[in-house]
């Protein structure tokens, strides 16, 4: 015989204002099986929880219903209290009389009737609840970090310094990401390379970090604590175990006109190259698309190793007897690694050039984006840090910065703010003024958003000390006239049209998600928003987790972010992983699906519908090992308890623990 206790919370006035909680308690007492019902102002408070604990002991309760807020908020609180009183926590349920009732209704009498119904429904469910025991799964205490920008570097170092192994996978030939491209950083104007490269070196030297550069994650399977990751190692044609990074091959390569991705196409690189001088690891790779020998081999249908074309890099390589440049290393290879947790740090990209016909971006060489300006201002850039414009190498005396190029512009499909542009544009005006003392920098802005420690002071300094000319308004058009760029805009504070004959125009183009991240997200079964930024589990309270257990986020792959925020999030993700790795085993919520193997008809609808690949096919064999039949089975470690399989199953052979058909039907019948 069930003995259910019902506890009705006022939630201060949140519920009490609209629902007559005492009347609900009164009505609850009349429900069959309810032996105790009380109302209280704050059930989640310490005295409130004590009421539950005491009642369980005193009335020998077999089930608890707390009528209060959403289970998303306080279910763990009340289940813990229940467990502390010696009752299985899964015998405690919540009736949501706040979000589902008091907050959405005005009529007190009707809302009270509805609250009584909601309580009645939950009482019927609780009567049929079974005690559930947490599931334990073993944890592989190694982490995978995808992306070697500052987010990935920080996360990898924090996890490794915490004593766990890390696999760091980077797509390019070096780690460093976008931060390595920056000249100086706001709000302190310290050199980006100077603060980043020590971290990069630390990664390379760390005994617990295994670095895979020029590699990409090909496939991911498994579940929290037990992932298996297939990594594609792109062919480098260089034996990195013997290469010393002397650079002789790069100097010898005759392909001198390939636009350098690292320099945002503002300078050339070779076909055998390492992206920048401080690259980590400092081992070159051969770009097969542009290498003369590979191109010839492809045309002739032969192997590069057997093609006797060029080979200047091979000749130049001083390593003996076996050369480090090795054209037999021409095929991608694959490695498989087992990890317990994954941090996604794939970063951002900038809105493509073809989006800005009105600014002639992509058409006029002197209309560049913010990252290109960083390369122009950088000592390691194509101009060695001298302010020279791309078209003719002249020093620009009149420079215009256009903020919100794409950002906050629905016409470009980007309603969001890219967050970092106000600050880096202010920085750009300073860098420019420090190099071109007689130059004038004009900024067209919508608002200046400088929320951050020392941020507002920083942009004010750009205006007050470095004399940046800030104009509030937008630019309608940029077009070329002779060697000048005519910038037509409006000053919305004075209401006047502005026309500037500029030498260089810099667009603060919107930050967008890396195009390849969407594909990765699908492999990892993690969510992303309409703009392809990866979704965190909760926008405020779970900002580094994803909805797939064991997969975490850091950096601009989640949303536009500056370096301090990125580093903070990366450390946050790392500390989450330290927590996960703090024990050998992992406890999981036991509300998962189970298959009745005797009735399963092996139609595989459940396999198709599972978003987590938790339902799988299983062979049932007799003692002789002969196959009897195939059935579906649920991997306990992977199942998230969403219930899709149970709803889809045509023979009702799958049921979700805690949400069995019997329980759901009883809830409906109680209405």
């Amino acid at each position: 015989m069930a003995r259910v206790g019902v506890f009705i919370c006022h939630c201060g006035e949140n519920i009490g204002r609209t629902v007559d909680c005492a009347a609900v308690a009164e009505a609850a007492r009349k429900i069959r099986g309810v032996v105790h019902a009380v109302d209280y102002k704050y059930m989640c408070s310490s005295p409130g929880q004590n009421m539950i604990r005491d009642a369980i002991r005193q009335h020998k309760l077999t089930g608890v219903v707390v009528a209060a807020c959403s289970p998303r908020m306080h279910e763990p609180t009340f289940r813990r209290a229940t467990a502390e009183a010696g009752l299985n926590p899964f015998l405690c349920e919540m009736a949501n009389i706040r979000e589902h009732c008091s907050w959405v209704h005005e009529d007190r009498a009707a809302a009270t009737r509805k609250a009584i119904d909601l309580v009645g429904v939950m009482v019927e469910k609780v009567k049929r609840n079974q005690p559930l025991l947490p599931i334990r799964v073993p944890v592989t205490r190694r982490a995978l970090v995808i992306g070697g920008g500052i987010a990935g570097i920080q996360a990898a170092l924090d996890i490794a310094n915490g004593g766990h192994e890390v696999i760091l996978v980077e797509r390019d030939a070096s780690i460093g990401g976008h931060m390595a491209q920056l000249s100086e950083t706001f709000p302190t104007l310290d050199c980006s390379q100077c603060i980043l490269t020590p971290r990069m070196v630390e990664v390379a030297q760390h005994p617990r970090i295994k670095l895979y550069v020029y590699s990409e994650v090909e496939a991911v399977s498994g579940f929290i604590g037990n992932f298996e990751v297939k990594i594609r190692r792109k062919a480098t044609s260089v034996d990195s175990s013997i290469c010393t990074g002397c650079g002789a091959c790069q100097a010898a390569c005759p392909m001198a006109k390939i636009p350098s991705e690292f320099n945002r196409n503002l300078g050339p690189r070779k076909a055998i190259y390492s992206p920048f001088p401080q690259a980590v690891p400092n081992k070159p790779v051969v770009d097969q698309e542009n290498c003369l020998r590979y191109k010839t081999a492809k045309k002739k249908g032969t192997k590069a190793a057997e093609t006797k074309v060029c080979g200047k890099c091979l000749e130049a390589c001083p390593i003996a007897p076996k050369k480090a440049v090795d054209f037999s290393l021409c095929e991608d290879t694959f490695v498989t690694e087992k990890v317990g947790a994954i941090v996604v740090c794939t970063g951002f990209d900038l809105l493509p050039m073809n989006q800005f016909g009105e600014y002639g971006y992509g058409k006029y060489p002197d209309v560049i984006d913010g990252l290109q300006f960083e390369r122009l201002a950088s000592a390691s850039g194509p101009t060695q840090g001298a302010m020279k414009r791309p078209s003719d190498g002249k020093e620009p005396k009149e420079i215009v910065f256009i903020q919100c190029a794409g950002s906050r512009d629905n016409a470009k499909g980007i309603p969001y703010c890219s967050k970092i542009c106000c600050m880096y544009t202010a920085k750009h005006t300073m860098l420019y003024k420090h190099k071109v003392h007689d130059g004038r920098a004009t900024v067209f802005y919508m608002d200046v958003r400088a929320a951050g420690k020392n941020y507002d002071e920083f942009w004010r300094r750009a205006v007050e000390v470095d004399e940046a000319n800030y104009i509030r308004g937008r630019v309608s058009k940029v077009y070329q006239r002779g060697d000048k760029l005519i910038v037509k805009g409006v000053d919305t504070l004075s209401g006047e049209l502005v026309e500037i004959n500029a030498d260089l125009v810099v667009l603060a183009t919107a930050m967008v998600a890396q195009p390849k991240t969407e594909h990765l997200a699908q492999r990892l079964s993690i969510g992303y928003d309409a703009h392809k930024f990866l979704s965190e589990a909760h926008p405020k309270l779970r900002p580094v987790e994803t909805n797939t257990a064991g997969v975490f986020l850091a950096g601009a792959c989640q949303a536009p972010k500056d370096i301090p925020d990125t580093v903070a999030q990366a450390s946050g993700a790392a500390s989450k992983i330290q927590g996960l790795f703090s024990s050998q085993e992992l406890e999981r919520d036991p509300t998962i699906a189970h298959v009745n193997e005797t009735t399963c008809a092996a139609c595989w609808y459940c396999v198709d519908v599972c978003p987590y690949q938790a339902t799988q096919k299983k062979e049932i064999k007799d003692r002789q090992g002969k196959l009897v039949k195939m059935v579906a089975t649920v991997n306990e470690g992977v199942c998230q308890g969403c219930g899709l399989c149970a709803a889809t199953c045509r023979s009702k052979s799958i049921e979700l623990d805690g949400f069995k058909d019997e329980q759901i039907c009883a809830e409906i019948m109680a209405l």
Partner: protein, 310 residues
């Protein structure tokens, strides 16, 4: 009806832009276009009506659309950019707002379901196909530099017009390039010419037209190609006013796309109405087909950086 396209000339093609109509009707049969003038058409309201009365501004084009619908046309071509603009905007508004449509149908006493597609002249030409146009040509131009001027109405507002790139349109450039001309890259392709202010604020129109002339000639253009009577008239008719007001000496002929095309299809200057322009257009029509002098060799330049190559 068959494959006939409903032809809406509009008032300007009856008057100031008579040569636009002349040239369009002359080239149409050579391109396999069968034009049928919509019977009993009325003025679209153009730039005047929508400043005065929204309902009038919608009812006038709606009546034209309804007539075309009744006649059973699949599509209607309105060579005047202002006309095609008004027709397309009206069709869009009626589709978005069923109440307005009902009201307008009561006013014009005809159903207007919006089944007729409205096209500007460039769309019609692109649908014929650039290859087919090039194949129909009996002679090709020899690299004359032309500034293709789209003006504001052909491409804007982009969400409603859904034609070409609103900021850097290319369709006219592509057609002219196929005819052997060298379209120049210039900055003001889609700037406003001053439109209907030609009479009331000639000073403003002169300034705006001056900017166009200045930028196109700085880009090396010898002539304009246009697809809008308003653009043509402001650039052509007002060119001497510009010269008088700013002390310039522009003599840039302004030809309709249909006239450039007609010349290549072997039609005479007279048949295309080239004699009806203010700035001598017949002259440039001859020059466009002359054998060009051997190109001078450019001095080698060494830019510091490879530039944007994406």
């Amino acid at each position: 009806m068959g494959n006939a396209i409903g032809f809406f000339p509009g008032c300007s093609l009856e008057g100031t832009a008579a040569e636009y109509r002349l040239s369009f009707e002359a080239i149409a049969p050579k391109l396999g276009l069968q034009l049928e003038e919509i019977e009993d058409w009325n003025c679209c309201g153009a730039t005047a009506a929508h400043n005065l009365n929204h309902k009038l501004a919608v009812a006038l084009p709606a009546r034209i659309l309804a007539l075309a619908e009744k006649a059973g046309y699949q599509s209607v071509v309105a060579p005047c950019a202002a006309c095609s603009h008004r027709l397309i905007v009206t069709r869009h508004e009626l589709a978005e707002n069923p109440e307005l449509r009902k009201e307008i149908e009561d006013i014009i006493e005809m159903p207007c379901r919006g089944t007729v597609q409205v096209k500007n002249i460039l769309q019609v030409l692109l649908e014929v196909g650039i290859d087919k146009i090039a194949a129909a040509c009996t002679r090709k131009m020899t690299g004359i530099k032309v500034a293709c001027y789209y003006g504001c109405l052909l491409v804007r507002p982009p969400k409603i017009m859904q034609f070409d790139d609103a900021e850097a349109p290319q369709s006219m450039d592509k057609i002219l390039a196929a005819l052997g001309a060298k379209p120049v890259e210039w900055g003001l392709k889609t700037e406003c010419c001053g439109g209907g202010f030609s009479m009331s604020r000639t000073d403003l129109v002169c300034k705006m037209t001056r900017d166009l002339l200045e930028d196109a000639s700085a880009a090396g253009a010898a002539a304009f190609a246009v697809a809008c009577p308003m653009c043509q008239s402001n650039l052509d008719l007002r060119q001497h006013n510009v010269n008088a007001a700013y002390g310039t000496a522009y003599r840039m002929p302004v030809l309709y796309i249909t006239q450039w095309l007609g010349l290549c299809l072997g039609l005479s200057a007279k048949e295309l109405g080239l004699d009806q322009h203010f700035v001598n257009a017949a002259e440039v029509a001859e020059k466009a087909f002359a054998t060009p002098p051997a190109p001078a060799r450019k001095p080698a330049q060494a830019p510091v950086a490879a530039g944007n190559k994406e």
